[in-house]
C-alpha cells in the first residue's frame, strides 16, 4: 500500500487505475446526454472507497455492462450506473420514492427491492409482477417507503444477480433512530466468478460436487481411525456412503471459482471504512452473494447486533455471526484503539474469505486471521435420528462419538481461533457433547434429553409425514428427526470458543404485526438432490407447481422442514416472515429466513398485500433449479 505524505492513499497501481478511469469515462460519456451521471464509475473500488451513494426521492438507475477485473482476467459485469456493487440508495421513511430504471443491456432485466413492503406491481419480479424491463426500456418504480433500516436491491432476471446487479438500500427512520451511532458504513459481501453463470449451473448439473475441493479423503479417514479406531472410521464412512451423502456438502459453489468481495473489493483491494477512536460505528452488513454464506467477525472488537433484515432488535453482543444469502445485520462496534481491525468474512465452507478493514486512517491494515478448519456435517444435520443410525451395525455410544466428532474435531485440531482474536478458550475436548446448544447434544440426549430441551427452547421433532411428491428423482433425503431449536449456531460454529449469534438471540423491538393466532399452517419441505442438482419445495420444482394461495387478510403459519444437507435462505416477497420461537412465541421479523440442515423453522405471515409474490430459496442456483413458488394473495 502506498501512502502519500498527506496521508491519502494511492488506491491502485496506475495501470489498473487508468483502465477503470477509462471504463468510467466511457460509461459516463454514454450516459452524459441523459444527465444521469456525475462521476466516473469505479467498479471494483479500492481502499477507502465507499459505494457511491444516491439520496433523495428521485433516482435514475441505468443497467448496463461494465468491464471489471477482480482476478487478473478482464470480464464483463452487469452493473447499475457502471458500479459494482450498485450505488447505495438512501431513502427516508415516509417519502415516496421514484426510481427510473433504464435497461441498456441486450436482454431483459429487472430490479427487485429486497425486503421492502410495497405494492405488488413495484416488486420487480419478471413474470409475476410485470413483464420485466426490456432492452432500451425505462421502467418507473414509484412507491411510498413505510419502513426503515438496511436492505438491498438486485436483479431478478437470469443470473444478473451473480454478475453484479446488487446494491445497498439504507432507509432513515422518520422519527428518532433507537440506535445511537456516530458513523456508519455499509458492508456488502458478495461472490464473484469469472465463469459465465450459465456454465457454473451446467457444471453443477453435470457433476456432483464439481466445485467442492473439501471432500473427505483418505487422510481424513486415517485421522479418524487413529482417534476412534479403524472400525469406527470404517463405520463412519459407511454410514455416509450408504446414504450417498457427503458430510462435506457445505457449499455448491466455492472459492474454487469465487472471489469473495467486500463492497466490491477483493481481499487485496481491502475496502477500508474509517473511524475516529471511541466512535460508535454502525456497520450495515448485507449478504448480496449469489450462493455464499459468510461467518463474519472483527477480531479485537465485540459487535452489538441492533437490527436484522432491517428490523430493530434488542441489542445482543457477539463475536461472530453467520449471514445467510440476502440477510442483513446491523451491528455497532466501538473501536477504542488507534489501530486497524480486519472485517473477516469467511465462507461457510472455508474455501475463501472476504476481507475489509476498519481503520482510523486510510492505508492501515490489521492481521488477517487464518480461516477456521473445514467443518463436517454430523448425522443430526442430515435429519437422522439415533434410531436411524443404530441400524448401522454400531453400538450406541460409538455412534455418538463417530457422529459427534464430525462437528468439531476439525476445530479442535485446527486451532485457528486464536487468530480471530477472541481466544481459543472453550474449544477443547469434544465440544458438542458438553455444548448445550449444539443440535447434536440433544440428539444424543435421547428421549430424556428431548423432554428437557423442550422446556429450554426447543428440541428434536420427529418428522412423521413427508409429502407424496417427495419420493421422486428430485429428492435424495428425507429427514426423520429435525431440531426446532433456534440457538444452534450451525455447522462449523458450534463451540468454537466465540460468542456466535443465533436466531434465538434476535428479538424484534416490535411485536407481532397481527395478534391473531394463525388460522392454518402450511408445511413445506425443502428438498433437493445434490447428485442431480435438483432443488425444490416438496419435491416439486417451480414449473411443475401451482401457486400457493393465501386469502387476503388471513393470518397463517409457514413451517419449513429441511430435508436436505444444506442451509437454505428462504425469502418471501411482499410480506414479512415473523419467526416463531420453538414454543410459538414471537421471535423476530425477517424477510429472509435461513433454515439449517436437520432443522425446522416456523414463521407467521400476515397476508395483507394482494398480488403475485415470489417465494424462493435465495441461493441463486437453487432458485434457478426450481426452488421457487408463486404465492398468490387473493
Amino acid at each position: 500500500m502506498k501512502i502519500r505524505r498527506n496521508g491519502s492513499v494511492l488506491p491502485e497501481p496506475i495501470s489498473l487505475q487508468r483502465r477503470r478511469f477509462v471504463q468510467g469515462l466511457a460509461a459516463g460519456g454514454a450516459l452524459a446526454g441523459l444527465g444521469l451521471w456525475s462521476a466516473p464509475a469505479l467498479a471494483g473500488s479500492g481502499p477507502g472507497a465507499r459505494p457511491r451513494e444516491l439520496a433523495g426521492t428521485e433516482f435514475d438507475l441505468v443497467i448496463g455492462e461494465t468491464p471489471v477485473n477482480f482476478t487478473g482476467r478482464p470480464r464483463m459485469a452487469t452493473t447499475v450506473n457502471g458500479q459494482l456493487p450498485a450505488p447505495l440508495l438512501r431513502w427516508r421513511e415516509g417519502d415516496t420514492v421514484t426510481l427510473r430504471v433504464t435497461n441498456r443491456l441486450a436482454v431483459p432485466t429487472s430490479i427487485h427491492w429486497h425486503g421492502i413492503i410495497l405494492p405488488n406491481g413495484m416488486d420487480g419480479v419478471p413474470g409475476l409482477t410485470y413483464r420485466g424491463i426490456m432492452p432500451g426500456e425505462t421502467f418507473v418504480y414509484r412507491f411510498k417507503v413505510g419502513q426503515s433500516g438496511t436492505y438491498w436491491y438486485h436483479s431478478h432476471s437470469g443470473f444478473q444477480e451473480q454478475t453484479g446487479i446488487y446494491g445497498p438500500i439504507v432507509i432513515e427512520p422518520h422519527g428518532a433512530d433507537p440506535v445511537g451511532y456516530d458513523r456508519e458504513h455499509v458492508v456488502l459481501l458478495s461472490d464473484w466468478t469469472d465463469q459465465d453463470p450459465n456454465t457454473v449451473f451446467a457444471k453443477l448439473k453435470q457433476m456432483d460436487g464439481y466445485y467442492n475441493y473439501s471432500k473427505l479423503t483418505l487422510g481424513d479417514f486415517i485421522q479418524r481411525a487413529r482417534r476412534d479406531g479403524f472400525r469406527d472410521a470404517v463405520a463412519y464412512r459407511a454410514m455416509w456412503d450408504k446414504m450417498r451423502m457427503s458430510p462435506r456438502d457445505l457449499a455448491d459453489v466455492s472459492g474454487a471459482t469465487y472471489t469473495y468481495l467486500t463492497n466490491g473489493s477483493t481481499t487485496a483491494g481491502n475496502w477500508t471504512g474509517l473511524f475516529r477512536r471511541g466512535e460508535r460505528v454502525r456497520l450495515r452488513f448485507i449478504n448480496g452473494s449469489a450462493m455464499s454464506y459468510f461467518d463474519v467477525g472483527i477480531p479485537g472488537l465485540k459487535m452489538t447486533v441492533v437490527a436484522a433484515d432491517g428490523q430493530n432488535v434488542h441489542p445482543v453482543t457477539v463475536d461472530e455471526f453467520r449471514i445467510g444469502v440476502a440477510e442483513t445485520y446491523d451491528v455497532l462496534v466501538r473501536p477504542h484503539d488507534d489501530r486497524a481491525y480486519t472485517i473477516f468474512s469467511q465462507s461457510m465452507d472455508r474455501s475463501g474469505y472476504a476481507r475489509g478493514t476498519l481503520a482510523p486512517r486510510a492505508g492501515m491494515e490489521a492481521p488477517v486471521p487464518a480461516m477456521d478448519p473445514v467443518p463436517t456435517l454430523n448425522m443430526s444435520d442430515a435429519g437422522m435420528s439415533m434410531a436411524g443410525m443404530s441400524g448401522m451395525d454400531m453400538g450406541g455410544m460409538k455412534m455418538d462419538s463417530a457422529a459427534m466428532g464430525s462437528a468439531n474435531t476439525a476445530g479442535a485440531a485446527g486451532e485457528n481461533h486464536a487468530a480471530m482474536g477472541h481466544g481459543a478458550g472453550a474449544m477443547g475436548a469434544m465440544n458438542g457433547a458438553a455444548g448445550g446448544h449444539g443440535a447434536m447434544g440433544h440428539a444424543m440426549g435421547g428421549m430424556d434429553g428431548m423432554a428437557s430441551a423442550a422446556k429450554t427452547g426447543g428440541g428434536m421433532m420427529e418428522v412423521k409425514h413427508h409429502p407424496a411428491t417427495e419420493y421422486g428423482p428430485g429428492t435424495a433425503m428425507h429427514a426423520s428427526v429435525v431440531s426446532t431449536r433456534l440457538d444452534d449456531p450451525g455447522v462449523g460454529l458450534r463451540d468454537n470458543g466465540r460468542r456466535v449469534l443465533t436466531y434465538a438471540d434476535l428479538h424484534s423491538l416490535d411485536g407481532w404485526l397481527d395478534p391473531r393466532d394463525p388460522g392454518r399452517t402450511i408445511e413445506l419441505h425443502l428438498t433437493g438432490n445434490m447428485e442431480r442438482y435438483m432443488w425444490s419445495f416438496d419435491g416439486v420444482k417451480f414449473s411443475d407447481a401451482g401457486p400457493l394461495r393465501f386469502k387476503h387478510g388471513e393470518r397463517l403459519r409457514i413451517r419449513l422442514v429441511n430435508d436436505t444437507m444444506m442451509e437454505h435462505p428462504i425469502h418471501l416477497h411482499g410480506l414479512w416472515s415473523e419467526v416463531e420461537s420453538p414454543d410459538g412465541e414471537f421471535q423476530v421479523r425477517k424477510h429472509t429466513v435461513s433454515v439449517k440442515p436437520g432443522h425446522t423453522v416456523s414463521y407467521r405471515v400476515l397476508a395483507d398485500a394482494r398480488g403475485r409474490w415470489a417465494y424462493h430459496c435465495h441461493l441463486l442456483y437453487h432458485m434457478k433449479a426450481g426452488m421457487f413458488r408463486e404465492v398468490e394473495v387473493l
Partner: protein, 258 residues
C-alpha cells in the same frame, strides 16, 4: 472461459425486441402498464434447461499379452433433469485393427433419486471376422448405496440371443485431486455365439484399478492395472485362437469430459 454473457432465452430476447419495435410507446412507459397482459409475460425463471455432457471415461492404452490395445469407453447425454438421450460406446484397436466396437443409443429416464432406467438399442459392429450383432437394451444406471456407480444392462438380440453387462465403479479420494478408481465388469451371454468367440454363461470379467489425477475436473490422466479372465466356452474359444485366458494389463490413459 469466454466473457461473461448475460443471457436469457433467445426466444425471449427476440420477442422483447419485436415488442419494442412494434410499440415505441414502450420505450418510456410509466409504472409498467406495458399493454401486455400477464399471460404474455415470460415465466419468472426457466427451470427446465436442456444440457449435455460428453464423457470420454477411458481413452487408454492397454499393454495386453497380444500387444498394445488402444481402448475407448465413452458416453454422452443431452436432456433435462428427468429425460435424456444417452449414448454409450466402447471398443478397442489392436495393431491398427478394430478388435471390438459397440454403440448404444438409449432413452434414459430418472425414476428415483439415484437411479435411471435406460432403454434402447445396441449395435456391435463387425470387426475382422466377427459379425455384427444388434440388440435391444434395457438397463439401470445410477448410484447404489455405499456410492457404487452401477450400470447394469440386459440385452435381447436376434436369433434368441441374450446378454447381460454389469459395471460397477467406486472412487477413493486419496487427495482432492488424486483419485483411485476400482472397477468391476462382467459380461454374460444366454447362448453361445462361436462367430464372435463367445460361449454361454459368464464369458468374461475384468477388475481394474486406475489412479487418476484431476488437473481439472474435466481433464484427468491416469495409470492403472487391469486383470481380465475369460470363462467357460469363451475361454475355450480363446485358447483355440491362441489368445490368453488370463491377462494382467498395465494401462495408461486420459479421462475427460466437457
Amino acid at each position: 472461459m469466454s466473457q461473461v454473457r448475460v443471457s436469457e432465452a433467445v426466444s425471449m430476447k427476440h420477442r422483447a425486441l419485436a415488442a419494442i419495435v412494434a410499440s415505441p410507446a414502450l420505450l418510456f412507459t410509466a409504472t409498467g402498464a406495458a399493454g401486455e397482459s400477464p399471460d404474455h409475460w415470460p415465466p419468472p425463471m426457466h427451470d427446465n434447461v436442456v444440457l449435455s455432457k460428453i464423457m470420454l471415461d477411458r481413452l487408454e492404452l492397454r499393454h495386453t499379452d497380444a500387444g498394445n490395445l488402444a481402448y475407448w469407453e465413452g458416453q454422452a447425454w443431452v436432456g433435462g433433469d428427468i429425460n435424456k438421450l444417452w449414448l454409450k460406446s466402447e471398443g478397442g484397436v489392436l495393431k491398427g485393427r478394430t478388435e471390438e466396437a459397440d454403440l448404444e443409443v438409449l432413452y434414459s429416464r430418472a425414476v428415483t433419486a439415484f437411479w435411471d432406467v435406460q432403454g434402447g438399442m445396441r449395435q456391435d459392429f463387425r470387426t475382422g471376422d466377427k459379425p455384427a450383432r444388434e440388440w435391444v437394451a434395457i438397463g439401470l444406471k445410477g448410484l447404489a448405496p455405499y456410492r457404487f456407480d452401477v450400470d447394469a444392462t440386459a440385452y435381447v438380440g436376434t436369433s434368441g440371443r441374450t446378454a447381460a453387462r454389469l459395471k460397477a465403479e467406486y472412487e477413493v479420494l486419496l487427495t482432492q485431486r488424486l483419485i483411485l478408481m476400482p472397477e468391476l465388469e462382467f459380461n454374460a451371454y444366454g447362448k453361445k455365439d462361436p462367430a464372435r468367440g463367445l460361449g454361454s454363461g459368464l464369458s468374461d470379467a475384468g477388475l481394474a484399478l486406475r489412479l487418476r489425477y484431476e488437473i481439472r475436473r474435466e481433464f484427468a490422466p491416469y495409470v492403472g492395472v487391469r486383470w481380465t479372465r475369460k470363462f467357460g466356452a469363451t475361454a475355450d474359444f480363446a485358447r483355440q485362437g491362441g489368445e490368453a485366458v488370463h491377462d494382467t494389463q498395465w494401462v495408461v490413459g486420459l479421462r475427460s469430459w466437457w
